[in-house]
Symmetry: C2
Subunit: 444 residues, 2 copies
Amino acid sequence: MLSLKDAGQPNIYPVNPNADEIEGLPAYASLTDIPGPVDHVISAIPAAYVLDMLEDASTKGVRSIHLFTAGFAETGLADRLQLQHQLKARADELGIRLIGPNCMGLYVPDGKVSFSQQLPTDSGPVAFFSQSGTNASDATYNGALRGLRFSKVVSFGNAIDVSAAELVNYAEQDTNTEIIGAYIEGMHDARDFYRSLRSAARSKPIAILKGGLLPSGGRATQSHTASLAGSGELWAAAARQTNAVLVHNMQEMVDVLVGWRFRAVPSGPRIGLVVGGGGISVQGADDVEREGLQLPALSDHTLRRLAEVTPVAGTGIRNPVDTMSLWDGERIRPTVDAVAEDPSIDAIIVQVGMNWGVGFFGNEELDTRQNMIAEIAEARERHGIAIAMVVPISIDHRHGESNARLARMISDAGLPLYYNIRDAARAMRRLLTWETRRVERAQP
Amino acid sequence: MLSLKDAGQPNIYPVNPNADEIEGLPAYASLTDIPGPVDHVISAIPAAYVLDMLEDASTKGVRSIHLFTAGFAETGLADRLQLQHQLKARADELGIRLIGPNCMGLYVPDGKVSFSQQLPTDSGPVAFFSQSGTNASDATYNGALRGLRFSKVVSFGNAIDVSAAELVNYAEQDTNTEIIGAYIEGMHDARDFYRSLRSAARSKPIAILKGGLLPSGGRATQSHTASLAGSGELWAAAARQTNAVLVHNMQEMVDVLVGWRFRAVPSGPRIGLVVGGGGISVQGADDVEREGLQLPALSDHTLRRLAEVTPVAGTGIRNPVDTMSLWDGERIRPTVDAVAEDPSIDAIIVQVGMNWGVGFFGNEELDTRQNMIAEIAEARERHGIAIAMVVPISIDHRHGESNARLARMISDAGLPLYYNIRDAARAMRRLLTWETRRVERAQP
């Protein structure tokens, strides 16, 4: 309820037979006591009472219910499975759509509905659907920190009614959605989902995380959302055929969504790596190649240009470009220009913080960073080249605020933020595969 | 110099011909003007003046010099390479040992010497040697956040005199060192290093990160520390033969050092995974298996024990154990006991924070966490089982302090801290391989 208040929802009616007031709002003994119409019910009552609540909702003319309530098929108990069947059958008879059970429900900023506090109240072009509430929170919370804003996020748990296929179909049609992500554990009709994927992926980029691909993960999906997980090979084939991007975990999911949203899709596999620090440059180069991309040697012309603006001691310019020019208002532009204009470079990764403590700089240095970020954003416009920004994170809180501000500056400038070079390279490689297939398909 | 002050060093003599005072200390025009003996010189002067400084140091009876100074062979310039040769030849004649050039030098808390501010002033059993200054900082800074303390850390750059082999030999003999890590870019005598590795690894665990294994990383080592990188196959074979642990990046390096230090070495591949959150449990299970470990189904006896203390709704106990008991002072002990006592479990991974924002709890909940951590630490003692703790991190600063305090509680309790389940599983798998080989070798 605090989440709904945070989202600015003006019409909240708490229902609880044992309270007169909840969080400052008048409480009602039952749904039928609420004055005026009710659009949507969020149920957090025990499973045993849900059938009764359904009747009240129907009386009240409700058409959609989100069942936060858990304790159905996912328990593995026969009577709970039976209860789930009864619930679905009765909801069908009454013409009520169910989200869940066993889920967090909806985050729709434009509708002033949210399942969590501290989420942005402004909306954006990303739709995310998840059978897991924690993963829905992960995408929205961690995505928001990197500038993602959402059209609709739906945590839909056991999915006894509203299904993954239906949600993907919806996102394909939704004019407020440009990018789609989904976390799936299992489904009753895989063919339906495949069809929805194939259709949606034709017009919008879509990333899928499939939980439970391995044996014990599969065991976990049963007790989590009562889902039977499918085989890894089938899902990989489905992703290839539809050109959906299959990721391995939520970190990679957000990495790919951020890449689409903030234009990290490279035009080819050849990366220019710009960092400040020798050890980082060596490891970063290894990481980029380990992820299947390339770091070509720069041309002699480029090297001459870089040499003009790069101090000779403690730096290297042969790609990776290890340079102190990153921290220099005058030198950052010619450095990025030289790399971007090299004919052998398709995309750039820039690491703008150290592996050891992001916040080795204080607030007073944020102006320098702001300038650096603005220069890099402008360079992207001039050269039309994909650029990924890297700011490592740590558990240290001493510089947490300047760090978070740096992250915000980067996403405010419309640049994609990653937490290390390996993650940026992995996302770019996935995006390149996606883009290559997309272009192939678009050809007559 | 501020680093030395931070470290509590009482005898600092700034040398600068153009200053009377530096940071509140009297400055001297040259080394020879310093009253009394000088044990160690830190040179940050331009490369062109280093030969003159060497003569002054010799006059003063100095036996060791750390050359922060860069601008030698790593520039790729013939005259700079020549200068490096001259420097080494003259130092040999004068009987002066050189650390570097092009490096951060020493962090030796017991000697009150440090290359960075904000590092702990207390020492510990880990030695770390690095050709890269940023990687030396990475290990010490990020290691310190997870409870690591150091005997000696040496950033040794171009390594024209003091070499990796010599440092590893030293660490093997050093009674204050129990665990060794090293970041290597290249070396003049690989056989020497192999011998040092083989000998040291017999008595102390040792982890190696080799930079520049791939082509462009190799190009980067040349301009970073003028090192020729070796082939990946050779290094992998050397690691197998010596039972050194080869890691891929600094994150994995710290993960492995933390594992040795805080007893995350599993007795076998079978993991019990305990988390609070369904999506995390599914992904975590996939991650554990993807890293080459197993999640066996728990016995019926264990399941009955877990069922007694686990709420039926929204949880799962079949391994992964997805339970709200983590946050419950009364239930955490029987939960961990049941998993630890299952005969099919060799080690446990516990995720004690959510993927979305570590700090979803406020400071007022830290007592609950303290209790949870104490219970887990005690369970480890009772059962003699390896346990890895997972607290995810994020760039969000809003709960940074409680987050950092949680991390400190975990390392203060002597437990190993990881930032996600995949990293914990990867470290445990590497540690298991190491332990298996160690036991094999110890047999007659």
